[in-house]
Symmetry: C2
Subunit: 134 residues, 2 copies
């Protein structure tokens, strides 16, 4: 996850978030909007704490997420998506749709995707707007 491999847009994108964990971090931030370090550790996939720290740093350096002060404690840190990170919503939706077609996925996700299919563009636009308000 260091230098650029080629100028191909896919390749450049993978250089930033193309590892086993980054998209899961971004996923969590898309559903929760703001999360602490500890919140990420609670995700069912069980990311190791050192890997989490490394990924958060890299995503921050690449401008996909940002830190902000926790309103009620200096000991806590909040992470949230930047505009660049929010712009990944369409990618995330398409991955979900692909997974739904080819895997068995949880019922709540299916329900969400049912809404997506009614009006994909509208759903995405609304979701992104909502994220920007937080």
């Amino acid at each position: 996850m260091k230098s650029q491999r080629s100028e191909c847009p896919i390749s450049q994108s993978l250089d930033v978030w193309g590892d086993k964990w980054s998209l899961l971090i971004i996923r969590d931030l898309m559903t929760a909007k703001q999360l602490t370090y500890g919140d990420f550790l609670k995700a069912p996939e069980g990311i190791a704490t050192n890997i989490l720290a490394a990924r958060l740093l890299m995503l921050e350096e690449n401008g996909l997420i940002e830190k902000l002060d926790h309103p009620e404690s200096k000991a806590k840190v909040l992470y949230r998506l930047t505009g660049k990170g929010i712009d990944l919503v369409p990618v995330m939706i398409e991955i979900n749709l692909w997974a739904e077609k080819h895997f068995t996925i949880p019922a709540d996700r299916k329900a969400m995707l049912k809404e997506v299919k009614k009006d994909k563009e509208g759903f995405i636009k609304a979701g992104m707007k909502e994220l920007r308000r937080s």
Copy 2:
């Protein structure tokens, strides 16, 4: 790249193609339709031959690509996308659009994306249909 981490659609997807190379292999197959082992090695990113072999095997095992006999030589092997692989076209397009917005990408890719934006759904549908014909 072995076992399933969770039932989340994003997580399950990453378990299949969420490494540094798989999407580049799939990208190459989307633009070229059919490629030999050696063709993949020629990609500008420079994948190592043992890694390529491992990824092709994993993608085949997961039903994203398939091998077929080369029409003019038994020494050569052709790889192409299956329906499951072709279904990743929308994901790939969205990644391209994201990259275009946040990185500097080659002119030819920009031209392609200009076409996409005129009629995204139509472009994707046509592209997938074309891939299925080969």
